[in-house]
């Protein structure tokens, strides 16, 4: 073999080896990426299964009795139940409240029906001061729920409102929808008539409040006490200031819209310290605010209820009763 031929053979061998090395490297790379992808699928899959196991099955059994309270809130409990009081503050336009309802609405109904919890629904409107339609959706939804409470179907109506919560910033909870949803519940024609009439009144109040009264009041307040101070005031403080400064809130008197605004203001002063009311959803057991990990997981809330002592509802039932059955 000549030296030329030997050299060529050597070179071919070298090329061949390089090619093989490359192919092997590519294969290794693919295998490792495949393993990595499998690790991702495994972690996501197992994690998803674990997180989903926290899902509540959705309670469809009979509801415990609903009792309308003087301040417009509603207590759902078995008669004479000795159990922890779970207070739920929610705004019908608040997405996290919807998530709470989806996560734990069923659990609350079940525990109340078993006599293991006294559930105190306290609708509020923390969005009443936002722009239309966020503010108007929030107030109209809350007012409609309050009318439903007059007819003993607050809990059912509460569910429907959250199921159909408008996307933030979009017009929703129209009077037509609100009427229809009430009609979809187990209610009589006479009740529907009362509901519709009251809803018209409330919707008009909401429109006046969010589109005329509040913008004018806010403009005045900004001019006279400044944006900064205003930012620290809750709506009921602002209304009180307005009453002394030429913005008569009289049209809210006796309306459910006004009652909702009052209930919201009262929430801010009801608790103190770590349990102070700051926003929605806020869930309390016997007056102690729950953290998100407790309130927003089925296991967390379930365990918190199980380990709490019996409590006492702080409000009084409305004299003429909310159970117009």
């Amino acid at each position: 073999m000549g030296s030329e031929a030997r050299k060529r053979a050597r070179e071919r061998l070298k090329e061949q080896r390089a090619k093989e090395r490359k192919a092997a490297a590519r294969r290794r790379n693919l295998i490792v990426v495949g393993v990595a992808a499998a690790v991702i699928v495994l972690i996501v899959g197992i994690g998803y299964a674990v997180l989903n196991s926290d899902r509540d099955e959705g309670y469809t059994g009979p509801l415990a009795a609903q009792t309308l309270q003087e301040d417009g809130s509603v207590v759902m409990a078995q008669e004479g139940a000795r159990a922890p009081v779970v207070e739920v503050y929610a705004d019908y336009q608040c997405p996290a409240c919807r998530q709470f309802e989806l996560t734990n609405g069923g659990l609350l109904k079940e525990r109340a029906a078993q006599g293991e919890a006294i559930v105190h629904f306290r609708p509020v409107s923390i969005f009443a001061q936002q722009q239309v339609p966020i503010s108007s959706n929030s107030l109209r939804g809350g007012a409609a729920a309050r009318i439903a409470a007059d007819h003993g179907v607050f809990v059912q109506y509460n569910d429907v409102l959250f199921e159909n919560q408008p996307t933030e910033g979009r017009e929703g909870f129209s009077t037509e929808q609100l009427r229809e949803w009430f009609a979809g519940l187990d209610t009589s024609a006479a009740q529907q008539e009362e509901f519709d009439a009251r809803l018209e009144e409330e919707a008009a109040v909401v429109t006046e409040f969010t589109e005329e009264f509040l913008p004018a009041l806010t403009e005045d307040a900004v001019a006279q006490i400044g944006q900064e101070t205003l930012g620290t005031m809750v709506l009921s403080d602002l209304l009180a200031w307005g009453a002394d400064n030429g913005h008569d809130p009289g049209f809210l008197e006796g309306t459910y819209t006004g009652e909702l605004i009052d209930a919201t203001g009262a929430a801010y002063t009801r608790y103190s310290g770590d349990s102070a009311f700051r926003g929605t959803p806020s869930v309390y057991i016997n007056g102690v605010l729950l953290d998100n990990n407790t309130a927003m997981t089925v296991r967390g809330l379930s365990e918190a209820i199980a380990s709490a002592d019996p409590g006492k509802v702080e409000t009084q039932p409305l004299a003429d009763g909310g159970e117009a059955q």
Binding site: V32, L42, G47, Y48, P95, L102, G169, M296, G300
Partner: protein, 170 residues
């Protein structure tokens, strides 16, 4: 076996400080990004709130938003694990950088549609007052994270990586 002079590896340039430093830089990027991803994933718990943060973007139907809200933190966690152990380093770095690009696109879309939301990057999320959005900050942060991922993808060679015993990026 190969004789040393046949080795295909880029000849270590005389006095190349870069080739000595780079693996440690990549390791630092891996650890930093893994830490960020773990924090991002954990702060999104519980999933009910994570779902709400996704829904605030108003981009997906409820069921899809729910799926993303549940699985995105897990995906972040999985990427963190891979970065930490150094498995498929180039691939993981690239995927993480890509994820950040997707996040940036989401934030830009929220901005463009005039939404006032919290990005929900590290928990939180949902509507905020129009004056309180921090889109610029969130995007800048994500660009930084994407840069870490890109560095890892470009220079995947690093110490303390499972890739090495498996014959990758030695």
């Amino acid at each position: 076996m190969d004789t040393p002079d046949e080795s295909p590896a880029p000849a270590p340039a005389p006095g190349s400080r870069w080739s000595a430093l780079q693996p440690w830089l990549t390791l630092a990027c891996r650890l930093a990004l893994a830490g960020i991803l773990v924090y991002a994933a954990v702060s999104k718990y519980p999933p009910a709130l994570s779902v709400q943060a996704v829904e605030a973007y108003d981009l997906f139907p409820h069921e899809v938003a729910r799926l993303i809200g549940y699985t995105l933190p897990l995906f972040e966690l999985a990427l963190a694990v891979l970065l930490l152990v150094g498995l498929a380093t180039r691939f993981t770095g690239a995927v993480t950088a890509l994820l950040m690009v997707v996040f940036i696109a989401g934030i830009l879309s929220a901005m463009a549609r005039g939404l006032s939301i919290d990005c929900g990057c590290f928990g939180g999320g949902g509507a905020v007052d129009p004056g309180e959005t921090t889109y610029g900050l969130s995007i800048a942060r994500d660009i930084g994270f994407a840069a870490l991922g890109a560095f890892i993808a470009l220079w995947p060679r690093s110490p303390l990586a499972l890739d090495r015993p498996l014959g990758l990026f030695r």
